[in-house]
């Protein structure tokens, strides 16, 4: 158990003060708009670059413009899983509730990003390579990643005791994290063995600078969006789970006071 008055020598800042869910709640409320608004602005900018400024691709025509949502979603699906693994490691290592709550808050958004990546990938594949589903290494691994996310979410729902659910999901996330590279490697291996298949999935179109910048701006937008959503979701989780705690009056006051 961390002493809440622990202070670091150099800055006299008490970081562990925010490790209590009740203390973190107002911070989450304050931070969320600082990510939500940039997310919207960046998305608008990214889509403008992607649809107005970026040129037509020589090989794929206008269909390539799907990458402006497909690639950022795929990147985020991996990044969020890494973040989940990070919070899970903290939750198991330090036994802090808030770390587990952050992992809990990230899972649905990660699943959503994975779904979007798969959906847009399929629709990009059809005009480009002739098939909705190409069984290539990346898409297949993305599908398995979706199962990993769903597994964590399902395990959370299935276990009634929240603290047991915290630790079980944390362990599952870490086991999954170790396995993701192994799974990707094995699927890639399988793919090279069966290269005889009619579909040969080439890499993304050769990147004009504008295409690349459009992708990066959208990726940044997706990142800000994910953080904003996770912060709002963690607020719900804190309220749902800390309702029975003795700090209830404090929480009730904050739930009332802190404007949406």
């Amino acid at each position: 158990m961390r002493d809440s008055t622990l202070r670091t020598k150099s800055h006299n800042v008490n970081w562990f003060r925010y490790s209590s869910p009740v203390s973190f709640y107002p911070l989450a409320s304050a931070l969320a708009p600082w990510f939500a608004v940039p997310a919207a602005l960046l998305a608008f900018a990214g889509l403008y670059i992607g649809f107005v400024l970026a040129p037509t691709d020589a090989q794929q025509g206008e269909a390539y413009r799907i990458i402006f949502v497909h690639v950022p979603a795929a990147w985020m699906s991996l990044l969020i899983y890494l973040a989940m693994a990070f919070w899970s490691a903290l939750a198991l290592g330090f036994n802090t509730r808030l770390s587990a709550m952050m992992a809990q808050a990230l899972a649905p958004t990660g699943a959503l990003m994975t779904f979007v990546a798969l959906w847009t990938g399929a629709l990009w594949g059809r005009p480009t390579w002739g098939t909705y589903w190409a069984w290539d290494a990346r898409m297949t691994s993305e599908l398995i990643l979706l199962f990993l996310y769903l597994g964590v979410i399902a395990l959370r729902q299935a276990i009634d005791d929240p603290r047991r659910a915290d630790r079980a999901c944390a362990l599952l996330t870490l086991v999954g994290a170790i396995n993701v590279p192994i799974i990707y490697f094995s699927v890639q291996w399988w793919n090279t063995l069966h290269q005889g298949a009619s579909v040969s999935v080439t890499s993304a179109p050769r990147m004009a600078t504008l295409m690349l910048s459009g992708m990066l701006v959208m990726a940044l937008a997706a990142w800000c969006y994910s953080i904003a959503v996770a912060l709002v979701r963690v607020r719900s989780i804190i309220l749902e789970r800390e309702n029975n705690a003795t700090e209830s009056p404090q929480l009730r006051g904050m739930a009332t006071r802190v404007a949406q």
């Binding site: 395990l155 630790r167 086991v175 291996w189």
Partner: protein, 243 residues
């Protein structure tokens, strides 16, 4: 139920005696679980029958065309092994949880990972090994040639322990949870994918002419990693479930 030898826990806290206790723990758990399993031979027979039935279903769903059967044989025999492994996982911990033995095991001074290893070994001996022994016979149903059958069996021999080891983590995580059966499938099948790919891939690689050595080596490496890592993860999961 045979009790843990009383003298060992006293020694278990000291240095080298701890290693000794670990091995003793593995041996004790293995012996106990084997004994319990062999007493309920009917259940083991049922698991094996499931494997046979599933394997026999696929040709009925497709045409009994020789080429097609031989082509899909590795896939069918492997996927059925995965499913059979999933079905038998509850046996690992559920019964012990119900009668309170699991808590006693967790409280004993023996390293929990060692005791879990013993249980997993017993699980594999009673569910995985029979599949390894039966698969060549079933492969004859699919008109696989003897070289392919050898590679298939070698793959299953290396792979089925991995299934038990990884499965134990899933079984421990979902201990006593409602809907545990299907939930374990959702949790563990993604982790099984590399085993499936390398196991079935070994036969395909051999048929194409690339040789099965690479796939089988990767399976072997995976087995070593799983033997070293999975018992600790499963033990941690058991503690999470019991606390």
């Amino acid at each position: 139920m045979k009790r843990l030898p009383a003298i060992l826990p006293i020694l278990a806290t000291q240095g080298t005696a701890r290693d000794f206790a670990a091995w003793a723990g593995i041996g004790w758990a293995l012996q106990r679980d084997l004994g319990l399993a062999l007493r309920s031979r009917m259940e083991l027979a049922v698991h094996l029958s499931f494997y046979v039935i599933v394997v026999s279903l696929f040709p009925l769903a497709a045409t009994p065309d020789r080429g097609l059967l031989a082509a899909m044989a590795p896939a069918v025999l492997w996927v059925a092994a995965l499913l059979a492994s999933l079905l038998s996982l509850p046996r690992l911990f559920a019964a012990d949880l119900l009668d309170g033995t699991l808590e006693q095991i967790a409280l004993s001074p023996y390293p929990l990972a060692a005791l879990v290893s013993g249980k997993i070994a017993a699980h594999w001996l009673t569910t995985g090994l029979p599949i390894v022994l039966l698969a060549p016979l079933l492969a004859l149903q699919y008109e696989l040639d003897s070289e392919a059958i050898t590679v298939l069996s070698a793959g299953l021999l290396l792979g089925t322990p991995i299934l038990s080891l990884l499965g134990a983590i899933g079984a421990a995580l979902t201990l006593g949870v409602r809907g545990a059966g299907s939930l374990v499938a959702l949790l563990i099948l993604p982790l099984y994918v590399p085993v499936l790919i390398f196991g079935a891939g070994a036969v395909d690689a051999m048929r194409v002419g690339l040789g099965a050595a690479a796939n089988l080596s990767l399976l072997g490496a995976g087995l070593l990693i799983a033997i070293v890592g999975a018992p600790f993860a499963a033990a941690a999961a058991v503690r999470i479930a019991l606390d």
